[in-house]
């Protein structure tokens, strides 16, 4: 059986969303998945703390969320990018904003690296 993911060859700057990440991030990702319902988005917007409590988020997850630190949610808490995007949409942080955080640079600096910035 050919090995599909070579754990001895870590790809720099890359998190492979495997079962370890999925287990670690399960609670957070389930919380994020709830944002597919408009009433849940409204509940989060109305009272973020109460909504985080409803999903029993851990303290680190709550801190990163309060700080809108999407890098922390993804890289340290097992957040899946497609799930975390649902939260970002609700807080006004689009994919490229998160991407700039992940790269450790400003939104403007990230956009300057792109070929055709109008297609966003």
């Amino acid at each position: 059986m050919a090995e599909q993911v070579d754990k001895s060859k870590k790809i720099p700057g890359t998190t492979v969303f495997d079962w370890r990440e999925s287990r670690k991030g399960y609670r957070l990702n389930k919380f994020a998945m709830s944002f597919t319902k408009p009433e849940n988005r409204a509940a989060f917007t109305a009272d973020e703390e109460a909504y985080m409590e409803r999903y029993c988020l851990g303290e680190a997850e709550r801190q990163f969320l309060r700080a809108r630190d999407f890098r922390g949610l993804i890289e340290e808490c097992g957040g899946n990018i497609y799930m975390i995007m649902k939260i970002g949409n609700c807080t006004g942080h689009g994919l490229y904003h998160m991407g700039a955080q992940l790269r450790g640079e400003t939104f403007e600096a990230f956009m300057a690296t792109r070929n055709a910035r109008g297609a966003r």
Binding site: T15, A116, A119
Partner: protein, 279 residues
């Protein structure tokens, strides 16, 4: 007998859907992408398929990690438009053909593809962007559709070879249907992109173009690609391209490439390739 008359490989980037909904098709940075689909739309209007089989992945539109299927096939009379977290898009529901879907499911399972059968499934950008880029929908879609969802987001993923073999099995299943249906198959996702880590935004146009060359000339060779190789070269989320191999596996040896485009404006290599299949 039902038969496959064409195959399309296409990216399914959500920002394309947003630009489409906002009517930005003629804006300078979007125009090269939208214009590239015009010949494909015309070709499809000419060959008039009855059914589109759409191989895609769900990004948390209606499938979650509590029970994320490796392969799932829709078997419903209609598929709703999912809310991915930013509201329902203004598109009509997708018409299904439950009888045809169940036929495919039965054939696939007896052919040892133990797929999950979904009698309720909302579809999202992975499915919808290819659909509205290829087909008109005012007031309704010209085709029924069969969603085929593949896990390309939570490792372990099915192998590239397995995805290709699924395409082979889909072809056999289509040809075992006695109804006179004209079928096209869409393989969606990719191409190069990475949405996590400090490597966010990585794209690899050379790799993408080589993939487009190969999927036309020697698709079976692409089944040797491991997830590791794809991720190293083209980014962690580029593994979606293995779904193009399902499309290509469903075509005959006589399939002929009739259109191709590549455009990489932002953070994803957006590929498009179309094959006519005379059987």
């Amino acid at each position: 007998m039902a038969r496959i008359i064409g195959g399309i490989g296409t990216s399914h980037v959500p920002s394309i859907g947003k630009a489409y909904d906002m009517g930005q098709q003629d804006e300078p940075d979007w125009k090269p992408l939208f214009d590239a689909y015009k010949p494909v739309r015309k070709w499809l209007a000419d060959i008039k398929p009855d059914v589109a089989i759409v191989v895609y992945n769900d990004h948390g539109g209606s499938l979650f990690f509590d029970r994320y299927p490796t392969f799932a096939v829709g078997a419903a009379d209609s598929y709703g438009i999912g809310d991915e977290g930013w509201g329902r898009r203004p598109l009509p529901d997708i018409r299904g053909d439950a009888e045809f879907s169940w036929h495919l499911c039965e054939q696939l399972i007896y052919n040892e593809f133990d797929i999950t059968v979904c009698q309720e499934l909302e579809v999202e950008h992975g499915f919808l962007v290819p659909m509205h880029m290829c087909f008109p929908h005012d007031p309704d879609w010209p085709v029924t559709a069969v969603p085929v969802a593949v896990n390309v987001i939570q490792h372990p993923l099915p192998t590239a070879l397995r995805c290709y073999k699924l395409g082979r099995a889909i072809r056999e299943a289509v040809e075992a249907c006695e109804r006179d249906l004209r079928v096209v198959i869409l393989g969606t996702g990719g191409m190069s992109h990475q949405l996590n880590g400090a490597r966010f935004g990585h794209i690899n146009p050379d790799w993408d173009k080589a993939f487009l060359d190969k999927i036309s000339s020697d698709p079976f060779e692409l089944t040797n690609l491991t997830h590791q190789e794809i991720m190293e070269q083209a980014g962690a989320e580029a593994v979606e391209v293995i779904m193009w191999l399902t499309m290509r596996g469903a075509l005959s040896d006589n399939a002929k490439q009739i259109h191709r485009n590549y455009y990489a404006p932002m953070a994803t290599g957006m590929g498009l390739i179309a094959f006519e299949d005379v059987g």
